[in-house]
């Protein structure tokens, strides 16, 4: 199959969906400039022009409301936030209105808005430009929240968002943008609420989201060298959550490590652990372990930042601890960030 970068897959999904559906428009700060949101909106702007891909004033809260109002009149707005941290400014419209629209107005069609937010970890982006806000959004009934970790999922989940009933928040990790992978050329949606087993194994289950799903695969390689056969699950969707895929895996492995790009407390990792406790308790052979950033804001200084984010080694170590197999494994494996050239 043909290979594309993660960013290229997002661009292709946008262009193909806009070609198929004239009600889609793209708005966001800088979507029409020479950078085109790391190349993801550049081609759409070139093809469809200012009428359907346009720059906007600052004012994230109103822009979310504007998207809602346009959607209520039959449009499908795709709003892009170059940093998801700014989406705190959207929260009233998103949580208090978009998420509730279908229910509180008994309005079956709802408001199919799609918000893309980019998580900018690394390169010293610090406390307010490298958070990963999936738990914040996923708390609210009525929203869909997804975090693609591969180019194919980046395309398929965006297609689902732009064809679906919404409202949708898609969180993309900037560190994944250059990653290449096989991507179908056709417009094929990947449904929300369906995780993927990205590596089959029998000894332990690693559940990862976004960049951590990718890092979990690298951790599994380290573990394989230690004779540990890890199963890796990429959640892909945060809301709805694929409980079944977690339970099915635990039935086989009985051990669970959850790796998340955001904090443990009240986070996605807590939710996955709750699924294990509520729905897979009889299968558990060991306590669940979470691998997440520590309970502090993100730092800037490189050694601190490197220590802040989970990586394949910390995930592998956690697995080995759960398996009580010692922790000498994995020396010499480079972090993905070490090979990434900024600034971004």
């Amino acid at each position: 199959m043909r290979r594309l970068s993660y960013g290229g897959a997002i661009s292709e999904a946008t262009v193909q969906c806009m070609e198929a559906d004239p009600s889609i428009f793209v708005a966001g700060i800088g979507v029409d400039d020479f950078k085109g949101i790391f190349g993801t909106t550049f081609e759409a702007h070139r093809r469809f022009g200012d009428a359907r891909v346009f720059d906007i004033p600052n004012g994230e809260n109103a822009m979310t409301g504007i998207a809602i109002g346009a959607a209520a009149m039959g449009k499908r707005p795709l709003i892009v936030h170059p940093r998801n941290d700014f989406m705190f400014l959207c929260m009233d419209q998103l949580a208090n209105l978009a998420a509730k629209w279908r229910y509180m107005f008994a309005n079956g069609s709802g408001v199919p808005i799609v918000l893309r937010g980019i998580v900018g970890r690394g390169w010293g982006q610090g406390a307010t430009h490298s958070q990963s806000l999936q738990a914040t959004f996923a708390h609210f009934p009525g929203l869909y929240v997804a975090m693609p970790a591969t180019p194919a999922d980046a395309k398929g989940l965006l297609v689902s968002a732009l064809q679906g009933t919404g409202p949708v928040v898609l969180l993309e990790n900037r560190a994944l943008y250059e990653l290449e992978g096989e991507v179908p050329e056709a417009l094929e949606p990947i449904p929300f609420g369906k995780g993927a087993v990205t590596r089959a194994g029998k000894d332990i289950t690693i559940v990862g989201v976004s960049l951590m799903a990718y890092e979990a695969l690298r951790a599994a390689k380290i573990l394989a060298e230690q004779g540990v056969d890890a199963e890796v699950i990429d959640l892909r969707s945060i809301r709805p959550l694929d409980d079944e895929i977690i339970v099915r895996s635990l039935r086989k492995t009985g051990r669970l490590v959850v790796a998340d790009t955001s904090w443990a407390l009240y986070g996605v990792s807590a939710e996955v652990a709750a699924v294990a406790a509520e729905k897979a308790f009889p299968h558990l052979k060991a306590p669940v372990r979470r691998v997440t950033p520590p309970d502090s804001p993100a730092p800037v200084s490189r050694p601190l930042e490197d220590a802040f984010h989970p990586n394949p080694l910390t995930i592998a170590r956690a697995c080995l601890e759960v398996l009580k197999a010692g922790s000498s494994a994995g020396k010499g494996v480079a972090d993905v960030q070490a090979t990434f050239a900024g600034p971004y």
């Binding site: 906007i56 109103a62 809602i68 109002g69 209105l97």
Partner: protein, 318 residues
């Protein structure tokens, strides 16, 4: 019916509805925080009468008058307050979340300023598709203090969108007076004008003045000249939320309330139409009786209607 009589009739209908609901409210059967528009009917009726059915109206927490003036279904509104399955939001939304898409009442919301931006978004859609439609958002003087007020006006003017902003300035945000909340000597309509749109101050208790101002403003929007803004001064008679009188609670005086009751928009319109011969007192009496009968039927139907089924509690979330 010519427009003057229609303006009066619609105000009477809203007043009869709300006074009836206020009377019934203490029976505890309407379990939804209710913000009555009694005293403020002229703004809703004056503006909505200048609109077409296809125009889109948005409102805030004090939304009954806007919903009814735009043609929202009365039975469905009353049933919504009673929490019934026949309500306009099937008992899920309550008094502050009224909607009737067939009448162009798109949404109302209890968060200040929310629907300002949403109306701007609908106007954006109308503009993109070249549709001859206008979006209108009603909000109070309290919303002017929210950041979204600025964000919405800014966007609407930059994009020259067909949206009419209607500020009902009733002098209070809950129990806090305007002069505690906003700088002295800078009026709301002047602040709006500073964004570069057409902005006017109107006597919000004079339904004919509101109607004429709204007609002009809507024409501006339809002509593609960008958004327009109306500040309508008016007054809420009853408490902020609920059916009672609250002039003994210390934040305002009975003399102040009485002075505004003396400027009742319905009395003023009646006096003028009777004086000019457009309407006889008997006709006004007949309008009142017909409205009362209509709301009595709506209440009876709402009381008789079924509650939503508990099995359906989470239905409609997705």
């Amino acid at each position: 019916m010519e427009v003057e009589r229609r303006l009066l009739r619609d105000m009477i209908r809203i007043r009869r509805t709300e006074e009836t609901l206020a009377e019934l409210y203490p029976a505890q059967e309407m379990r939804t925080p209710t913000h009555f528009s009694i005293g403020q009917e002229a703004v809703a009726v004056g503006v909505c009468t200048a609109l077409r059915r296809t125009d889109a109206v948005y409102s805030g927490h004090r939304c009954h008058a806007h919903y009814l003036a735009k043609g929202g279904n009365l039975d469905a509104m009353v049933a919504e307050l009673y929490g019934k399955e026949t309500g306009c939001a099937r008992g899920r939304g309550g008094s502050v979340h009224l909607s009737d898409l067939s009448a162009g009442v798109i949404a109302s919301s209890a968060i200040l300023g929310q629907t300002m931006a949403v109306a701007v978004g609908s106007a954006l859609a109308f503009g993109m598709d070249g549709q001859d439609r206008v979006a209108v958002t009603f909000f109070g003087d309290g919303t002017v203090e929210e950041g979204i007020f600025h964000e919405s006006l800014n966007f609407a003017v930059v994009k020259k969108l067909p949206v009419l902003f209607v500020c009902e300035n009733n002098g209070y945000s809950t129990h806090t007076r305007l002069d505690v909340r906003q700088p002295a000597g800078v009026s709301i309509h002047a602040r709006a004008a500073s964004y570069g749109l057409s902005s006017r101050l109107v006597d919000g208790n004079d339904v004919f003045a509101v109607y004429e101002a709204a007609r002009e403003a809507v024409a501006t929007c339809r002509a593609g000249a960008g958004p327009a803004f109306l500040e309508c001064t008016t007054y809420r008679w009853r408490e902020h939320v609920g059916p009672l009188w609250d002039y003994d609670k210390g934040y305002r005086t009975k003399a102040e309330v009485d002075a505004w009751i003396a400027r009742c928009p319905i009395e003023r319109a009646t006096t003028r139409l009777v004086r000019t011969g457009a309407c006889t007192p008997a006709e006004v009496e007949a309008m009142t009786r017909a409205s009362q009968a209509e709301v009595d039927r709506a209440v009876a139907a709402a009381k008789a209607a079924p509650f939503p089924a508990v099995e359906d509690l989470t239905l409609g979330t997705y």
